[in-house]
Point group: D2
Chain length 382, copies 4
C-alpha cells in the first residue's frame, strides 16, 4: 500500500489553506532533491554496513545561489547537533548555497563535496573571490544505519543537488531521512505548506523536516494522544545489547526544519518565524529532548543579495510586523511544521536496519481508529 | 460556585506527579503575595478608573534576597513586553529581589517602590554598596482596566511583598492577573508544579503564570479543541468603538511564566528549562502572537550567591545534563506550564471592566462536555 | 578657563573627517537636551543631598517618535546595568521615544515621567492603542551624588525632552553625566561624529556617551599611556570610610553609548555597528570591567516604522554590507566612540560632591606634555 | 636571524606577569601541535599549488578529551567565518576534542579526519554511543596559498594531534598560521599568557591566536602607530590582476583566538572572558572588519564533564564574579590577546607565496626605532 499523507486521511491541521503540493516547493523556485542509500542487512560491521542513509538538497531558487544569495536565518531550538556555517548566517544574514540534510557523521564529507560542486561551476572561487560556505545539517541515523561508514559519496551529493526539482516532494524514508525514527516509529522527510489569502499578499510558507526525535508516549496527532494509546504496539525492536545511552539517544533524537517563504522577510523576521516552528513541534508532543539537535533553517526567496555589488544600498521590501500578515505567517509556520512532522511519520513504512533492528511504521488503521475514538469523526481511510 | 482547578475536573496534564499544593510554592522557600485592586464600574475615565488591576510578588526564598541572591535567567520567547533588569540577569546570572508581576504601565512605579522597600531595610544601599535591581514583569490589562491610571501604589507594593507566604496560592483574577484575559476568556494567575521521583533526586519544578494571550479558536485543553467548539459562546464583549488595533492587542496578548526549582541549575541550564515553557504554551494552542510579551523568569533556590563574599571561588552543585534527570526537569516544565495556564482560566470568573466590557469565565459544564465528546471520559464535575 | 575638546588640543583621533559640530547632532534631525542638577555640599544625607545628577534626552528626530518610530538596536557589551525595554528593541527592532540618560536609581521615575509626557500628547495611549515603551539608560553617580534621593523630577524630565535641540551639544558635567567619573577623573557627557566621503554616500555616524568607567592607570589617549603617567596626580579623594566594594564600583563603572546614523541600517546591521563601539572604548584603555554596565543604543534615522500602518510591506533602503561603505561605518563608530570618551574627560572640570569627595578634572597642561613626550608633537594648548 | 618575540625587544604589554613560557601551554595540561606545509613556488595552479598552509591542534588536556570533556564556550566577535559545532558548545557548554586551526577550505576534511582519529581510539563511537563533534576553526590563506587544493591530509591531522606537546610553542608561519597575514605583514600563530598573583589563586590565562586580519595603517604596538608610520614600507605585493574584492578580503581577514584557563569558569563566565579578547584586538588597531571571521574558543581545564556519568549532580568550583579575581582574569585576556597578536607578527618572516606574492615580515629595526620615537625608550634590539 502506498502510505497516505495526513490530509489523505482527513486529518487537517489548523485553519489555513495549503499550497498546491502542500510542500516546501509551493514556495516558487524552491527545489528538492534526494539520494537514498539502502544496502545490506544483518549484523552491523562498523564502516561497512548495513546502509540506511542518504542526502537531501533544498535549493532556495533555481539560479546560481552563490552569486544570488537569499536572506536567511538559523535558529537553535536545542543545540545538540550541527548546522555548518550557522555563525556566518547569524552575522551576515544570508545563505549562499543549497541546504543539505544528511546524517551526523557525514556532515564534513557532504560539506566538502558541496565545495567541489561549486568550484567546478565557478573557478574564481578561492582564486579571486571567497569560496562557498556550505550549509549542512544533520540528525543521527545510528539506530538503523552504519553511521561510522559515512556512506554518502561526493557523486551522490552532486546528484542530490543536480536532481533537485520543484513540484511534489517525495516523503518518508528518503534522502537524508532514510534511516530516521520519530516517536519510536519510522520517519524521515515530511513537508507541508500554507498559503495566505490574497488580501494578505498571497504569500506561501513551506516547511520540510527531517524528523528523528521523540518518545512514543508523547506522540499527539491533532491533539489526540495516539502515542500513549499505542504504547504496547510493536516497540522499536532493540537488540538485547543496546546500551542505556543508546536508548537515550533515540528517545531524544533531533529534527531539522527547513522553512521557506516568499514573504519578504529580513533575518530578524525570519528568526521570528523560525521560532514558531517550536510550537508546531510541541503540538506533536515534543518536549524538546536534552540531546536533541533541533534547528530551523529559514530563508526568504524574495530578498536576495548579489555576491558582486557595486551599489551602496539595496532597496528591500519587508513585511510589516503589525496586524494580520505577520500573525498569519506565524500560524502558517506552526501549522505546516506540525503537519510536516506528521507526514514524515505517515509516509514512512516499517524498516529493518543494522543488527535486524526494526523501526515500525505508524499503523494507519489503528491511528484512524484512535482519531475517531477521540472525537475526530471525519478521519477516514485514504 | 467556587471555580475548580483543572485537576478538580479530572483533567490531568502529562504523566508526572505534582507537588503538595500543585503550586510554585511546592519549591521549598518560595512565597507568593497578591494585592488585588477592583474599584468602580462603567465608563472609562483615563487616569481615574474603573480599576481592575493589582500586583503579585514572588519571593525565591525567605531570607534577604539582596544579600543572598539566587541563580536566575530570563528568557525572551517573544519580546513585545518588558522585564526590568533582564540584561543584568543575562550577564551576571542572578536575581537579587522579589519578582513582581503587574500591568504594563505600572512597571516603573512598582520598580521604584521595590527600591524603597529595600532601602528601608538596608540603608547601606546607594551609600556604601550598590542598590537593588528590581525585576518587574508585566502584561497589559487595558481591555478591562484603566491602565493609564497606574493605580498600584507604593504601599500596595510593600503589602504584596510583606504578605507573601508559602502553601496554597490564590489563583484567577488576583494580584497582577486581576484584569487579564486569555484565549478571549477571563484569566489571571495560575500555578502548578511537578515533583520528580526520589531516584531522580526528588526535585520540584514550580510554575506560576500571569496569562493574557491567545485567540479563542486556538484554545486546546489536553489536546481537545475547546476554543474552536466554543467559538460562538459569549464573545469578549467589546464596545462598538473598539478600534482594530485594540482587538489585535487582545488577540495577541502576553504571558509571564515564573519558573522555580530546587534542582541546582546554572543560568545556562535554567535557560534550557525556561525554553521548554514554550512547549507548554503551544500545547494550550498558542502560536506566540506577534505583539505578545512572552517571557520566562527562572531561578534555582539552591544556587545562591552572597552579596558580600571574600572568597575566590564557590563550590556549586549542578545537575548532570545527561539521561533521565534533565529530561524529567524539561517534562516538568512543559507539563506544569500547560497546567498553570489552564488553572489561570478555570479559576477566573466572568469580570465586567471599563466601559462595561465583559470577559466571560471559561464555562465549566460546557468544557466538561467537550472533553468527554473528545474521548476524555474521566473528566467530571468537581 | 573654558575646557577644550580633544580636537582643540590637536588630538585628532583616527583618519576620518568629523561632521560640522563633531557631535551626535551632525546626524540630521537628532536633538539633545540636558537638565543639570547641582545643589548642596558636605555630608551625605541619604535621600536629601548633596545633589550632583541630572537627565539627558536624545531625540532621534523632530517628529512624533511614537507615531514614527526609528529602526533601533541595543547591544549589551557588559550587562551590569539597565536599559529599559531593551528586550522589546531586540525583538521588534525599533525605538519609539526619546533615549533618556540618568543615574541608576532614577530610572523608574524617569521612565514613568516619559509615559506622562507622551500621554499628555497622545490621549489614545492606553485607551485605543498601546503605550510608549520608554528607553532609559543609566550609570551610577553615587560617588559624588546622593543617589538614594532620586532627585530628577517629572518636570525636569519634561524639560530635558522639550529643550532638546540640534547644533552644538553641551559636554562634560551636564545632564545625566553631571555626577560621573571616568578613569578616576571627572567626566560626564561627550560626543563626536564622523562623516563619510560623498562617494560613500556622505553618511554621518554620531556618538554621544555618558562615561563612568575605568581605572586611572588604564587611560590611554591616542595610544599614549596618560593614566599610567598620572598615577600620582590628585587621586580621586575618598573619605576614609569608603569601603572596598565602593572602590570596586568606581573602578569598574559603566558607560552608555548612543549611536546615531543616517545610513539606512537594519537592526542586525545596527548591532554590527554598535559592536564596534567596544573597540573605541578599548582604545581609551578599558578592559570592560566586571561590574560595568556598558550598553550601546543605536538607531538609524532614515529607517522609520509608522505606528499605524495598513500596508502589507515596507520598502526599505539598506546599506550593502560589502566593500568600503560598511567598513567606513565601522571605522566611524570606533573613532567617534574613542573621541567622545576623551571629550567627556577633557570637558569636565574638577567637582566636589558628597562628603566632600573630589573628582579631579583631567589636567590639560600635564596631558599636553605627556602627549608630546610620547611623540605626538602636534599637540598644543587650545 | 631568529626573529624575536615582543618581550625580547622590551615591549611589555600591560601590567601583569606572564607564565613560564608566556604561552597557552602555561595553563597546565594544554598541548599544542603544528603541521606546516610549504611546497612549490610561482604561478598558482588551483588545486595543485604552490602550498603555504597547515594545521594546528590545541588539546585542552592530556587525557581522553571525549570521555573527559572540558567546559567551553565559543564567542562570535564577527561571524564571517566558521567554527564547527559552535552551536553545540553554546547549548551544552563543553568541548569534547582537540581544537583544530586550519584554512577555510580545509575545514570539512580536517573535521572528517578528527572523526577518524577518534574512532580508531574509541570503537564504541557510532555504535553504542554518539560520536565526536569536531571543533575546527579557520582563517583564509588564499593570498599566499592554493586554498582550492585543501592540502592538509588525514595523516597530517593525525600528526598535529599526536605531536601536540606542552612547553614552549612554536610561533609565526607554522601550522594553521603558515599562510596568514595580519596588518599587511606576514603573520601566523602567536601566543602569550598571564599568571595571577597567588592571593588571587595563582590562576593562568593562556591565549593562542591564528591572526589574519587588519589593514596596515591601523597597526598599533603598545599604543604606537607603527602601521601608520610604515605605510610606505614594502607593501603587500599584489599581482596586477588582483581584483578589488581580493583586496578587501585581505584588508579585513579574520582571527581565531583560543583562550585557556585553569580558573574554574562556567560557560557563561568563559563567554565573559572571551568577550575581552576584542579589547586586546582593538588595542592592536583592529576595527573588526566586515568580512572578518573573528571567534574566541575558550575553555577551562579544571571544569570537566565525564562522557559517562551515572550521578545526578556534579560539584563544581566556580570563580566568584566580584572583586579582584574576575577583573584580573579579564585583564589577563586583554593583555595576553594583544601580546599574542604582536608575537604572531614579530615571529613571522617574509614569505613568498602563490603568483610570487610577497608578505613582508614586520621589520624589527624600523619598529624599534618607531617605538623609541614614540617615547618607549626601553625598547631595544633582542
Amino acid at each position: 500500500m502506498k502510505r497516505p499523507r495526513a490530509r489523505d486521511l482527513g486529518i487537517n491541521i489548523g485553519r489555513m489553506k495549503s499550497g498546491r503540493y502542500n510542500a516546501i516547493t509551493d514556495v516558487a523556485g524552491v527545489r528538492v532533491g534526494h539520494v537514498t542509500l539502502i544496502d545490506g542487512q544483518g549484523k552491523l560491521v562498523p564502516g561497512k554496513g548495513p546502509i540506511r542513509t542518504g542526502v537531501t538538497a533544498i535549493l532556495p531558487h533555481g539560479s546560481d545561489l552563490f552569486l544570488d544569495k537569499v536572506t536567511g536565518a538559523v535558529l537553535r531550538i536545542n543545540g545538540f547537533g550541527e548546522v555548518t556555517n550557522a555563525e556566518q548566517i547569524h552575522e551576515m544574514g544570508f545563505i549562499e548555497g543549497p541546504i543539505m540534510l544528511t546524517n551526523t557523521w557525514n556532515v564534513p564529507r557532504v560539506a566538502d563535496a558541496v565545495i567541489d560542486w561549486y568550484v567546478a561551476r565557478n573557478p574564481a572561487m578561492g582564486v579571486t573571490t571567497w569560496g562557498i560556505s556550505p550549509v549542512v545539517a544533520e540528525t543521527s541515523d545510528m539506530f538503523l544505519n552504519d553511521i561510522v561508514g559515512r556512506h554518502v559519496t561526493r557523486e551522490q551529493v552532486f546528484r542530490a543537488i543536480d536532481s533537485a526539482k520543484d513540484g511534489a516532494v517525495e516523503e518518508g524514508a528518503v534522502g537524508g531521512g532514510t534511516g530516521m525514527t520519530c516517536y519510536d516509529f519510522k520517519s524521515g522527510i515530511g513537508t507541508a505548506s500554507r498559503k495566505l489569502p490574497d488580501k494578505l499578499g498571497g504569500y506561501t510558507v513551506g516547511i520540510l523536516v527531517q524528523s528523528n526525535f521523540g518518545w512514543r508516549p508523547q506522540l499527539m496527532i491533532d491533539g489526540v494522544p495516539v502515542g500513549r494509546e499505542l504504547i504496547d504496539y510493536k516497540p522499536l525492536r532493540r537488540t538485547s545489547d543496546t546500551p542505556p545511552e543508546m536508548k537515550r539517544d533515540i528517545d531524544s533524537g533531533s529534527i531539522i526544519v527547513v522553512l521557506a517563504t516568499d514573504a519578504p522577510c529580513s533575518t530578524r523576521i525570519l528568526n521570528r518565524l523560525a521560532m514558531r516552528a517550536q510550537n508546531g513541534l510541541a503540538r506533536t508532543g515534543s518536549h524538546t529532548g536534552n540531546t536533541s539537535g533541533d534547528f530551523v533553517i529559514a530563508f526568504s526567496t524574495t530578498r536576495r543579495k548579489k555576491h558582486f555589488n557595486d551599489r551602496l544600498t539595496y532597496l528591500f521590501e519587508q513585511v510589516v510586523e503589525e496586524g494580520d500578515l505577520i500573525n498569519h505567517l506565524f500560524w502558517s509556520v506552526v501549522e505546516a511544521t506540525e503537519e510536516a512532522v506528521l507526514n514524515s511519520l505517515f509516509k514512512s513504512d516499517t524498516m529493518v536496519g543494522i543488527d535486524d533492528r526494526v523501526a515500525p511504521g505508524l499503523p494507519i488503521e489503528e491511528t484512524i481508529a484512535l482519531m475517531k475514538k477521540y472525537g475526530h469523526k471525519q478521519v477516514h481511510l485514504p
